[in-house]
Subunit: 344 residues, 2 copies
DNA sequence: CAAAAGAATGTAAGCGCATACAATGTCTGA
DNA sequence: TCAGACATTGTATGCGCTTACATTCTTTTG
C-alpha cells in the first residue's frame, strides 16, 4: 500500500478505555464477560467499542493469557475425502467452542510431519490432532517435552504412545476377510496403500494377513500402490495376473481403481472377482456394482477430537483414548454372504 | 495435568541469552538471520538454543512485529473435493514461504462468513482467501476498514469489489452450451446448485441461459439442488419429467446424481440424454460413460492465492486479480461434436 | 599513532492485553 | 450515624519478543 494508509492504526483497548472514560481493565472485563461491571458502564464500553470499530488483538491476548484458543491439525493430505471430511468436522466442532483451526499437510512424510508439529508448537496451539501412530522420535520428543495436548486419530492401539481417537484398522480388515471367506472366496489378493511410515495401512495388511492365516489361507498376491485411482488401476493389472477371486483394497480410492480395471478386463463383479474397499466414501454406494466397504467414522473422529482436546485444555487434564467402531457394509462387489454371521 | 508439570516453563529468549552469555537482542538477531553477528557468537547462541530446547513464541513475535506470518482461508466446505484440493494447494504454497494457514468453514452461509472474517482479523492473519464475490456488507466493511489483504477465489468478474483469482463461471458454462447445441441437443435442462448467496452458481445459470438465448433457445427446465449426489439424484427425477435431451449440471457432484438417476431410469447416455458436469473431479473421467465436464484449476487457484497474497504482504502492495482459464473436456456423456469448433 | 569510521553487541522501550492488588464507592446493620 | 462488608473500578506489571538507539570494540586511515 503506497498510500500509507495500510498502517492506519487499529483502535486498541486503550482507545476504547479513553472513549468510554474507564480504565483498560474495565474494557478487558467487558470483553471477557466479567460479572463485576455495572450495566451502565458496560453499555458505555460497548458503545465505545462499536463506535471505534475496535477488534481485539488475539496475539496480545495469547501472550498475556498463555492460551491461543486455537487447535492444530497435521494431516497427510486433503485430497482424500476421508481426511477432508474429518478436518471439516474438526473445524466445525472447534469453532462451536470458540477455537480456531490451523492446519498443515505432511504428504505422508513423517520427517516433514515433525517439522510441522514444531511449527504448531511455535504457533502456540492449545491442542493438536495428528493422524495415526507412526511418528518420528523427533516429533514424539517435541510433544513430550512441551507437553502439548494431542490426540492421534484414525487409529486405535492398545499400547499407543499417545491418546487415540480412532478405530482398530486390523480388526476392521479382519472382518472383511471373514466376510470374503464366508462367501466362499479363497484366492484373495490385496492391493494395499503404501505401508512405509503408515501404521494404518500396515495394520490393514496385517489384519488381513493374520485373519486369513486363521482361516488357513494366505494372500495370493500383495501389492502396494499410492492412493490414486489412476495408479491403483495400473497396479491392478499385475495383481490380477495371480488370478485372485477377490481383491481387498487398502481404501476406497484403490477400490475404485480395481473396479475400473476389472471392468476393463471384462471380469464380472462379484462373480469373477470380488472387490472390497475401506472408508465408505459416498460414491462407493452409488457406483454399479456398489462397493462393499468399511464405514469409517471420519466426521465423528474430527468432532470428538475437537471436543476432547478442548475439554482437556479447559479442565487441565489429559485427553483420553476412544475406540470407535467401524462397520462392514456389504454391497454388490461381494456375493451376499451365505453364512457370514456366526463364522469364527 | 494434575502433576503440576503442565506449566513447566518453556525456555525463553532470556534463558538462551543467559546461557550463551549475550543479550536477548543478539539471540533475536541470530534467530532472524541478521548478518551482524560474529560467527563465534552465533555458534554459542545456537548451542544454547538446542541445549535448552528453546522454541520461539510466535504470538510474542507477532505482537512485536505486527505480522503473524499466517494466512487465512474461509471456504464453504471441505466436503467437496474441489475446495479440499484448493485448500491443500494453498497450504502447501503458504508453507513453502513460511506461512501457516488457518481455515474456517462457512457452510455457504454468508452471515457466518462475515463472523469468520472477523475472527480471522482478530487472529491477525496477514492475508485472507475467500471464495466467490458474494459477501455481506458487514464482511466487506470489515475488510475495507482493516485493509486486510484478501483475494476472492473461484470467481472472476470485471467489476469485482475485491481482487479475484479465478475464472469466469458464466463464460465456462456458455462454452458448455455451445458444445451441446453444436452437438444437436435442443431440449436442454439444468440442475443447478443453490444460487442464493452463491455468485458462482448464479453465474453458471446465467451463463447457460444467456448463451442459450443467443442460440434462440431456453432451458426446458431449471431446478436447484444442494451439492450432494443423493439429493441431486432425487432432484433429477422431476427434472427429467420435462423430457430434456441434455442436462447441464451445476457441478460434478450433481452430475454424478443425474448420471445415476438416468441409468436407473433406463435412459441411454448420451443418446437419450446428455449430461455435463463442472469441476472435472477425478472420477468424472473414470465413470462409464465418462462425464463431459469443465476443468477448473483448483490447485492452481490455491497456489496462486498463497503466492500473490504473500507477495503483496511482503512488498507492501495490493494483490491483483488474475483470470484463469477453464477448459471444456468432452467425454462420453455428450455426443462428439460434429461442428462445435467454429460455431458462434 | 591518534582519530574517525565501521562492526558487533547491549540497553531499554514498547507491542496490546489480562490480572493481582489497591483504591474507591455503596450498602448493610446496629 | 458509622464501621464493616461487599461491589465496582483503577493502577501497574509482565507475557516474550523486536528494534531504535546507545555503547563498546575493531579496524582503517591520514
Amino acid at each position: 500500500m503506497s498510500d500509507g494508509k495500510r498502517f492506519l492504526k487499529q483502535a486498541t483497548q486503550t482507545d476504547v478505555a479513553q472513549a468510554a472514560g474507564v480504565s483498560t481493565a474495565t474494557v478487558s472485563r467487558v470483553l471477557n464477560g466479567s460479572l463485576l461491571v455495572r450495566d451502565e458502564v458496560r453499555a458505555r464500553v460497548e458503545a465505545a467499542i462499536s463506535a471505534l470499530g475496535y477488534i481485539p488483538h488475539e496475539s496480545a491476548r495469547s501472550l498475556a493469557t498463555r492460551r491461543s484458543r486455537a487447535l492444530g491439525a497435521v494431516i497427510p493430505t486433503l485430497n482424500n475425502a476421508i481426511f477432508a471430511s474429518g478436518v471439516n468436522a474438526l473445524e466445525q466442532a472447534a469453532r462451536e467452542r470458540g477455537y480456531s483451526l490451523v492446519i498443515s499437510i505432511s504428504n505422508y512424510d513423517l520427517d516433514l510431519e515433525a517439522v510441522l508439529v514444531r511449527q504448531m508448537i511455535e504457533r502456540g496451539v492449545d491442542g493438536l490432532m495428528l493422524v495415526g501412530n507412526d511418528h518420528t522420535a523427533a516429533a514424539r520428543a517435541l510433544l513430550a517435552t512441551t507437553r502439548l495436548r494431542h490426540i492421534c486419530a484414525w487409529a486405535w492401539a492398545e499400547d499407543a504412545a499417545s491418546p487415540n481417537i480412532g478405530f482398530d484398522n486390523a480388526a476392521a480388515m479382519a472382518e472383511v476377510v471373514d466376510h470374503l471367506v464366508a462367501d466362499g472366496y479363497r484366492r484373495i489378493a490385496m492391493l494395499a496403500g503404501p505401508t512405509a511410515g503408515n501404521d494404518r495401512a500396515r495394520d490393514r495388511v496385517q489384519g488381513a494377513v493374520k485373519r486369513l492365516a486363521g482361516h488357513g489361507l494366505s494372500l495370493v498376491n500383495l501389492i502396494e500402490t499410492p492412493y490414486s485411482i489412476r495408479e491403483a488401476r495400473a497396479a491392478a493389472i499385475p495383481l490380477l495376473a495371480a488370478r485372485p477371486d477377490a481383491v481387498i483394497c487398502g481404501n476406497d480410492v484403490i477400490a475404485f481403481g480395481v473396479h475400473f480395471a476389472a471392468r476393463e478386463a471384462g471380469l464380472a463383479i462379484p462373480d469373477d472377482i470380488a472387490i472390497t474397499g475401506f472408508d465408505d466414501l459416498t460414491l462407493t454406494a452409488e457406483l454399479s456394482p456398489a462397493i462393499t466397504t468399511v464405514t469409517v467414522p471420519a466426521a465423528e473422529m474430527g468432532r470428538l477430537c475437537a471436543q476432547h482436546l478442548i475439554d482437556a485444555i479447559e479442565t487441565d487434564t489429559d485427553p483420553v483414548s476412544l475406540r470407535l467402531d467401524t462397520r462392514l457394509v456389504i454391497r454388490q462387489t461381494t456375493r451376499a454372504a451365505s453364512g457370514a454371521i456366526g463364522l469364527p
